[in-house]
């Protein structure tokens, strides 16, 4: 699959031909420097952007050929997103932020249940402004997984956090991956995080440079940076 952007007279190749499979229940870490194309890849996987060439198949459904309405439905039913800057709705409490997604999903878990998974039962009724950065990110994870997504995409989930808080957040991602079995892709440029993955995809210059398989995933608790 390829992706280029036409920026005026210049064509920028963001992805120069990526061939990759993501398995159900797998934890994959996408590692690479800025500009290596990992965010572009994630956006295409999440149905936010379209590939310029090649195809992206979700359980046989070609999302490269989907129209806007179908992409919305794809995101709504199957994809969970975790953003670097959490992107919580400030006017809604933790519980309501999760409910904002469960209300439009098919067969979601209860919002409280999702918050319990990320260990935030006691902060359910707090507004984002009353939560720390790590707590906000865990709410975002709860929001992403409450719909029981088959694909969980996390873009630099610890990018705005200190390492101690980052580990708590990674633990939450690890836990939901194990318990829900969602195919999980975590973008990071922090090589230390790679230890928690089943598979580490190294990206550089718009392509996959090499792939490492971890024999056993390390618990995020064992990570430090």
């Amino acid at each position: 699959m390829t992706k280029f952007y036409d920026m005026g007279e210049v064509r920028v190749h963001a992805l120069r031909g990526v061939d990759l499979e993501l398995y159900s229940g797998e934890m994959m870490v996408l590692l690479g420097p800025s500009g290596s194309g990992k965010s572009t890849l994630l956006n295409i996987l999440g149905g936010l952007d379209r590939a310029s060439g090649g195809s992206v198949l979700y359980r046989g459904f070609d999302i490269t050929a989907a129209n806007d309405r179908e992409l919305t439905q794809y995101r709504r039913r199957h994809v969970g997103f975790v953003f670097q800057f959490y992107n919580l709705i400030p006017s809604l409490t933790a519980l309501e932020n999760v409910a904002a997604v469960t209300e439009i999903a098919e067969n979601p878990m209860k919002p409280a249940e999702a918050l319990e998974l990320v260990g935030l039962t006691d902060r359910m009724h707090h507004f984002p402004s009353q939560l720390s950065g790590g707590q906000q990110q865990r709410v975002a994870i709860a929001r992403a997984i409450a719909k029981r997504p088959s694909v969980l995409l996390c873009d630099e989930p610890t990018g705005a956090l200190d390492s101690e808080t980052g580990i708590v957040v990674l633990e939450a991602i690890d836990k939901v991956n194990r318990e829900l079995g969602a195919a999980t892709a975590v973008i990071t440029h922090n090589a230390d995080i790679a230890g928690m993955a089943d598979r580490v995809v190294h990206m550089s210059n718009g392509g996959v440079s090499h792939v490492d398989l971890n024999e056993h995933r390390r618990s995020p608790k064992e990570l430090h940076w």
């Binding site: 952007d49 919305t72 994809v79 997103f81 953003f83 992107n87 309501e96 507004f127």
Partner: protein, 783 residues
């Protein structure tokens, strides 16, 4: 060479061009109303004063039955009087070839030698040669209405003698700027005419050789008009003086003054409201626009720009918007002002019009807009620049929210978002509501004038004046003369009337107007109270138009001093029996028999109201106008038409422009409100899109908020508009006419509809922007 920052300025402006246009529209709407009104009024006033000066409008006027010219010399000797000119003025009936209807008019004698006052401004042709007896100059309004040019023949009947005259010129004169036939309140250029001819032949035809019946004078600097009036009245009394008066009681001047007063009210109040609303909205909108630039401001500070430089940069940003809006407003206002002034020119026969926009008007326009926008910019930019760059470049902390007492348990999360957003920033919500409400209220004010005029016409012409024709005689005639009128074909019913001019005095206040004697059981002319129910004429005592009672400060039961200015010239105390509601003119009413006793006259009349068979109307009209004693015949339908043609047309044009501008403002306000909301919350909405919300679901959050605001704002605006209309109606009370306070349901509905449409249109435009939210950007971008 543009600095990098200046280039950024133009690109930023281009990026928000939709809002720049919307803000400019709001501003232009306010400025245009102001420029239109202020420039029209200033131009008319300037033209009037220049014309009075150049064409020597006198300061004192007196009419009389007849006096030898030597009396004029005695008037000239009165202390305080600087110059005098005496002349003969005669009523006349005029016939024009190719125009079936008779025309009435006045023939004015031209001075021998050089004139002192009321110089003629010739639009075409020349003045009569001193030796030619059959040459005449016609008034320009009449000439225009009949497309008359020098060389046209006229048949003029003066004093029962018909003579053939030749038009040699077309002219206007300051004393006939507002040209009224006796008894009418709006000019009718088709059937009323002013003619000027040499004095000698006119005096001959009118049996007044060596005499005069009108005199005009100028006063010495510092002389009091009242003193001169008294002295002239005393001098003229033996000669049948009809009461001298200053400029303020000269018919044309008085009507102009009243109309300018009315225009002045329109020209001050409406623009004040519009301009303050536009200024307020500009302040709010610019403030919010600047608040969305927080990240940029932080970046500039991080580069090392000083707060002062940043404030200056953004002030330039708003200055561009303000300049665009103000220039648009001035151009629009000038265009409308010139149009309205031309319309006034059709009614007021000014020799020329000095339409110009004074520098002070432009200065006020720019001053108000720059101040309003400057303050809005300054506050928001200073607030943003006050943050340390490091903090400002961080993603903004999530806003502090609370549960709202407005939300209900079954609310969906998007509904909760709407309610909490509204409640979290009550000031912002209130400002938005206030802005939309004000736009709504201005639409009411625009529509109110139409309702008021309709009601005025309805009350006056469908409830009060039920006659088909009103006949006015040149002089009082015996009531028996009406028998011949009654016997004319088509006449169903005749009711006599006696009109006399009188001066009313109560405490220190005096007022000069007509006193009308009517039949107590008359059916054709009814006096009404505020509910439009009939008020009976008392056997003794007097009824006053409510506005006259207010001006004199009298109420029912007071004793009013009435001084008749004709006939017996008796002065008597008369009890005020009550007031009657009238929207046009001011008059006092008595029973005709009591008035005739007061006048020490027999059973005489000066006119009559007629009920007529509609098919016979046209023929009867012509027959009546051919009767030599008849000075004028007015038709109700014609009165209605003239009214609409002039006063109503002026007011309604004004109101139409106001409605147009109010709609512009409404659209600008609503669009900006929702557009800025989108800028402020684009990230939040894009996040929801990423999470799988459809476009419709995301639009609901933003547009739902707008809808709530507009739903609260519209009723509020309707109430505010009603209040403003009431205030205007109360301020626009003049002697010429009063504006009834009437706002029809259709006006409310229209105002609400315009705002609703503006909302729908804005929603549509912003909805399209929501469709193009950049979902990828939101994953990485900070605010």
């Amino acid at each position: 060479m543009l600095s990098a920052l200046d280039r950024k300025l133009f690109r930023d402006l281009w990026a928000v061009r939709g809002q720049v246009i919307a803000i400019s529209c709001v501003l232009a709407g306010g400025i245009a109303t102001y420029v239109m009104a202020a420039s029209t009024l200033a131009s008319l006033l300037e033209t009037q004063s220049r014309m009075y000066r150049e064409f020597r409008f006198p300061e004192l006027f007196a009419g009389l039955k007849q006096a030898p010219l030597s009396v004029a010399a005695r008037i000239a000797a009165v202390p305080g009087i600087a110059g005098v000119e005496a002349r003969v003025v005669a009523p006349a009936n005029i016939e024009l070839a190719d125009y079936g209807q008779p025309i009435s008019g006045q023939v004015v004698g031209l001075p021998r030698g050089e004139g002192r006052f009321n110089l003629l401004h010739l639009h075409a042709g020349r003045l009569p040669e001193p030796t030619r007896d059959r040459e005449a100059v016609v008034s320009d309004g009449f000439a225009k209405a009949h497309k008359l040019q020098p060389g046209f023949p006229l048949a003029v009947t003066i004093n029962g003698r018909k003579q053939n005259l030749m038009v040699v010129g077309v002219a206007s004169s300051p004393e006939f700027t507002y040209q009224l036939a006796p008894g009418s309140i709006v000019p009718d250029f088709k059937t009323y005419c002013i003619l000027w001819m040499n004095a000698a032949p006119l005096e001959g035809s009118f049996n007044m050789t060596g005499a005069f019946n009108q005199v005009a004078a100028s006063l010495e600097r510092g002389a009091r008009v009242e003193d001169a009036v008294q002295a002239v009245d005393t001098l003229l009394k033996p000669y049948g003086g009809l009461g001298a008066h200053g400029r303020k009681d000269q018919i044309s001047h008085r009507f102009l003054a009243e109309e300018f007063k009315q225009l002045g009210i329109l020209a001050t109040m409406i623009p004040t409201v519009f301009l303050s609303v536009a200024g307020f909205l500009l302040n709010v909108v610019v403030g919010r626009l600047m608040a969305t630039q927080r990240g940029q401001i932080a970046t500039l500070k991080a580069f090392g720009y000083t707060t002062g430089a940043i404030v200056w940069h953004f002030l330039k940003f708003t200055a561009v918007i303000v300049t665009v809006g103000t220039l648009l407003g001035i151009a629009g206002g000038a265009w409308m002002g010139a149009g309205i002034s031309r319309m006034y020119m059709d009614v007021y026969r000014f020799p020329y019009l000095d339409y110009r926009i004074a520098g002070s008007i432009v200065a006020v326009a720019f001053g108000v807009s720059l101040a309003a926008a400057g303050v809005g910019t300054l506050f928001s930019v200073l607030k943003a620049a006050g943050e340390s760059p490091a903090v400002a470049m961080q993603p903004a902390n999530p806003g502090r929210y609370r549960r709202s007492w407005l939300e209900l348990p079954w609310f969906s999360q998007p509904s909760r978002m709407i309610v909490r957003n509204l409640q979290r920033r009550p000031v912002k919500s209130l400002l938005s509501i206030g802005g939309v409400a004000m736009a709504t209220s201005m639409l009411i004010v625009g529509g109110f004038w139409g309702d008021a005029v309709d009601y005025m016409v309805f009350a006056q012409l469908r409830r009060a004046q039920l006659d088909d024709l009103t006949v006015t005689f040149f002089a009082p005639v015996s009531v028996r003369a009406l028998h011949s009128v009654r016997s004319l074909p088509g006449v169903n019913h005749v009711e006599p009337l006696r009109n006399v001019s009188a001066r009313f005095r109560f405490a220190h206040r005096t007022y000069r107007t007509a006193l009308q004697g009517m039949e107590p059981e008359g059916e054709l002319r009814r006096l009404l109270n505020t509910k439009l129910q009939r008020v009976e004429l008392p056997p003794d005592g007097i009824l006053l138009t409510d506005h006259l009672a207010t001006m004199l400060g009298v109420k029912a039961g007071d004793q009013l001093t009435v001084e008749l200015l004709e006939g017996s010239r008796a002065i008597r105390q008369v009890a005020v029996a009550g007031v009657v509601t009238e929207y046009i003119g001011v008059t006092a009413y008595m029973r005709r028999d009591s008035l005739n006793r007061f006048l020490r006259e027999g059973d005489v009349v000066t006119g009559a109201y007629l009920a007529v068979d509609p098919p016979a109307m046209a023929e009867l009209y012509n027959r009546l106008k051919r009767i030599p004693a008849v000075a004028g015949v007015a038709a109700r339908a014609q009165a209605l038409r003239s009214f609409y043609d002039t006063l109503a047309a002026q007011m309604l044009t004004f109101a139409f422009f106001n409605t147009l501008l109010a709609s512009t403002i409404a659209i600008g306000v609503v669009y900006n409100t929702v557009r800025i909301s989108l800028s402020e919350r684009g990230r939040e909405l894009a996040s929801l899109r990423v999470l799988g919300y459809t476009r419709g679901e995301v639009s609901y959050i933003l547009l739902g908020e707008l809808t709530v605001l507009v739903f609260v704002a519209i009723p509020l605006g309707l109430v505010m508009g009603r209040g403003m209309a009431y205030f205007m109606a109360m301020s626009a009370q003049t002697e010429l006419f009063r504006v009834p306070f009437v706002v029809e349901p259709s006006t409310y509905a229209l105002a609400a509809l315009v705002v609703a449409l503006a909302t729908a249109g804005s929603a549509f435009l912003v909805g399209r922007k929501i469709n193009h939210l950049d979902l990828v950007e939101v994953l990485k971008a900070r605010e």
